[in-house]
């Protein structure tokens, strides 16, 4: 090999190697995950009992806002970008990402974006307090002055995502090994290709939305100000035109991860590969035409409500195809239940549950009851946490031996799975009941009749939070002192180019392209 990694801090500051950048993305996102998780713990601690105990309502609003923003933009999205950096070149037989220097830039601006965002917590007026959806005029006319930091933070984070996506698409379209046709690519590469296109299409729309806010706040325009001829409802349309594809940006790479893990531990090839590709593409395309189902209560005409309701329900079809394929892959397979497989199966079950509550919310007349209640909170945590976060955890357990040449502690992994699984469901399942009983989201206090389930939910949240520390411990102890392995396949049922490489994966791989049959 020509050269190994540079020595010292320079290895990371000037990193152009996809594995190093992937590692930095993963650690950064885990740090953000712990920060956002800490905010969640503050929220659940306050909601343990009715009345105000620990924090002030103003600070509670800052916590819900920062929790949402950090989890979506800081934890889940960079985690999947990190995974893409590590795996896509190894899966398609490329020596590195197509644009390594831009890769470095897209990672290194992220810490600055989040420093800008998190620094608002220590400023006069406090952090943004208008919810992660930052609806105008709450986020313009009535926003704290720190909103400008939030806006520039979003700009930086968005630029990072767009650069990362350009890099991923360029890599997949140009650097595949000879013989690696698109329809031979592992599904993780496919799902990321689709996700990257979604990101390039909608992150600029988010940038546009915050730019309009910036101009309304500082330069006297009236995009969202009715007094000057604008319309606050326009904000919701622009935001959700970004926001709905965004939720698929978060979940589609998870589909790719699950489609890699389930065949490995079922010891069967993935059922319906091409239908998986088409279903994912269909979901991505549909995500652009359903945005207003987030705003059924805004005062839409009947025709609009009907259209957005039916279009949304239609998404259940390709999603159903995917769930069907995963189950068919497991059907009559020689299944073993290692930790990644446990997380993957939990993903399929809990994601489907979250999908069903999504269908309930998609029904316009029913949504008027559920809107902005804890039912919505339960729904999106089932798809975001049990969907995206569980799949990330599964991915780390699955590929970690490949990355560092050491096996994780299986008993500890399974323990972490069960604590996570139980903790997660104890946290979020009761929130369905709370929402149906009428508890609204984003309030620091609640009526007495909601006390019991809130207590249960808070206890579950602390259990789930603790399980993440166990995960951190397991990963660190694996890297430092896990049992060594040099089996290229690691898992006997694993298929794909990354498993033909030596374990641990060397600093440079596929400097000469592999032969793909």
């Amino acid at each position: 090999m020509a050269h190994g990694p540079a020595k010292g801090i320079g290895r990371w500051l000037f990193a152009t190697n996809h594995k190093d950048i992937g590692t930095m993305y993963l650690w950064f996102s885990f740090a953000m995950f712990l920060l956002g998780g800490f905010f969640a713990m503050v929220i659940r601690a306050e909601l343990f009992e009715p009345g105000m105990q620990i924090i002030k309502p103003e600070f509670f609003n800052q916590m819900t806002t920062m929790h949402g923003l950090i989890m979506v933009f800081g934890a889940i999205m960079p985690a999947f970008v990190g995974l893409a950096n590590w795996l896509i070149p190894m899966q398609i037989g490329a020596p590195d990402m197509a644009l390594p220097r831009m890769n470095n830039l897209s990672f290194w601006i992220l810490p600055f974006g989040f420093a800008l965002l998190a620094s608002t917590l220590f400023m006069e007026g406090g952090a943004p307090n208008f919810g992660w959806t930052f609806y105008a005029p709450l986020s313009t006319t009535y926003a704290p002055p720190t909103v400008n930091f939030f806006i520039f933070g979003i700009h930086i984070i968005g630029a990072s995502s767009i650069m990362g996506s350009i890099n991923i698409v360029s890599t997949i379209l140009n650097l595949r090994a000879p013989g690696m046709t698109l329809m031979k690519m592992p599904l993780f590469a496919w799902t990321w290709l689709i996700t990257a296109f979604l990101l390039i299409a909608v992150m600029p729309v988010l940038a546009g939305a915050v730019t309009m806010m910036l101009m309304d706040i500082n330069f006297g325009t009236s995009f969202f100000n009715a007094a000057g001829g604008g319309d606050p409802v326009l904000f919701q349309h622009v935001f959700w035109f970004f926001g709905h594809p965004e939720v698929y940006i978060i979940i589609i790479p998870a589909f790719g991860v699950i489609s890699a893990i389930i065949p490995t531990f079922s010891r069967k090839p993935l059922f319906g590969y091409s239908s998986m590709v088409y279903a994912t593409s269909a979901i991505a395309i549909l995500s652009f035409v359903v945005w207003a189902h987030h705003m059924f209560t805004v005062g839409m005409p009947l025709a609009g409500e009907l259209y957005f309701m039916y279009a949304t329900l239609l998404i259940a079809v390709p999603t159903g195809v995917k769930v069907f394929n995963w189950i068919s892959t497991m059907f009559r397979g020689a299944i073993t239940y290692e930790t990644p497989m446990l997380f993957a199966i939990a993903f399929v079950i809990l994601f489907t549950l979250g999908g069903f509550t999504g269908l309930m919310l998609a029904i316009a007349p029913a949504d008027i009851q559920y809107h902005d209640s804890y039912f919505v909170v339960a729904h999106f945590h089932y798809v975001m946490v049990a969907g995206a976060v569980f799949s990330m955890t599964a991915a780390v357990y699955y590929w970690l031996p490949k990355w560092c040449g050491r096996m994780y502690n299986e008993a500890l992994g399974k323990t972490q799975f069960w604590i996570s699984f139980i903790g997660f469901n104890v946290t979020f399942f009761p929130q369905h009941f709370l929402g149906l009983a009428g508890m609204p989201r984003r309030y620091a206090d609640y009526s007495l009749q909601f006390t019991d389930w809130n207590m249960v939910s808070s206890v579950g949240a602390f259990i789930y939070g603790a399980s993440q520390l166990l995960f951190l411990y397991n990963v660190i102890s694996t890297i430092r002192s896990g049992e060594k392995t040099d089996d290229p396949k690691v898992w006997e049922g694993a298929e794909g180019l990354e498993w033909t490489l030596p374990t641990p994966a060397p600093f440079h791989t596929f400097s000469t392209p592999p032969d793909v049959k």
Binding site: N174, V202, P204, F223, A227, G229, D231, G299
Partner: protein, 213 residues
């Protein structure tokens, strides 16, 4: 530059991203306005009613000089609501709560406003119609909402409104609620009176893009 295939892909994608940014900033808002204008979504009434508009809407049987047909068979109830936005301190209310009109018949009403504060202020009223399907059938020939309304400290005024209901109003609509929300634009109003003066309804003299930007 375009010889390197990676660079070619990346440049294409970059332009795609920039294009989407421009789309969000320069196309979506005017598009939304036009969409609302055509469909009447959001319950906004259109600008000052002109004869040409009437001629377009009512087709060939009516020329510009002729009086509108008044449908004496039908009676439509029009209710008025006045709301202050945010911390707007003015007293603001309709002088009559509701009127009954025949479609086509012009009706004059007034809203009372009083600036009880000790400073001169400027207000802008923003209309909204319920049901939203009736919005494009409510025509105003004169409205205080077409201009911003300055009132000196302690001053009061009756704001006039002249409107008629289009004879084409769907049969299912018997009651229309016309609501005005009064915004305090003292800060903006003094700075840019000319641009702000007609609020939403500038499409006669300016295209929607310019109206928003």
């Amino acid at each position: 530059m375009a010889t390197n295939p990676v660079r070619k892909t990346a440049v294409w994608l970059l332009f795609g991203g920039i294009g989407m940014f421009c789309f969000a900033l320069f196309v979506l808002p005017p598009l939304y306005d036009v969409f609302c204008e055509i469909t009447g979504l959001g319950g906004k009434t259109s600008g000052p009613y002109t004869q040409e508009q009437g001629a377009q809407q009512n087709g060939a049987q009516q020329n510009g000089t002729e009086q509108r047909p008044v449908d004496l068979e039908r009676v439509v109830k029009v209710q008025f609501v006045a709301t202050n936005n945010g911390a707007m301190p003015w007293e603001f209310k309709p002088l009559v709560q509701e009127v009954k009109v025949h479609p086509g018949q012009a009706q004059k009403v007034a809203f009372y406003a009083r600036n009880a504060t000790r400073r001169d202020m400027v207000a802008q009223a923003i209309p909204s119609v319920t049901p939203i399907s009736a919005a494009k059938f409510l025509h105003k020939t004169e409205c205080f909402c077409f201009n911003n309304q300055p009132l000196k400290a302690g001053e009061s005024a009756d704001f006039p409104l002249v409107f008629f209901i289009d004879a084409e109003l769907p049969r299912t609509v018997n009651t229309i609620t016309l609501s005005y929300t009064l915004f305090d634009i003292t800060k903006q109003g003094t700075e840019q009176k000319a641009e702000q003066s007609t609020g939403k309804n500038t499409e006669q003299d300016a295209p929607p893009l310019a109206a928003v930007l």
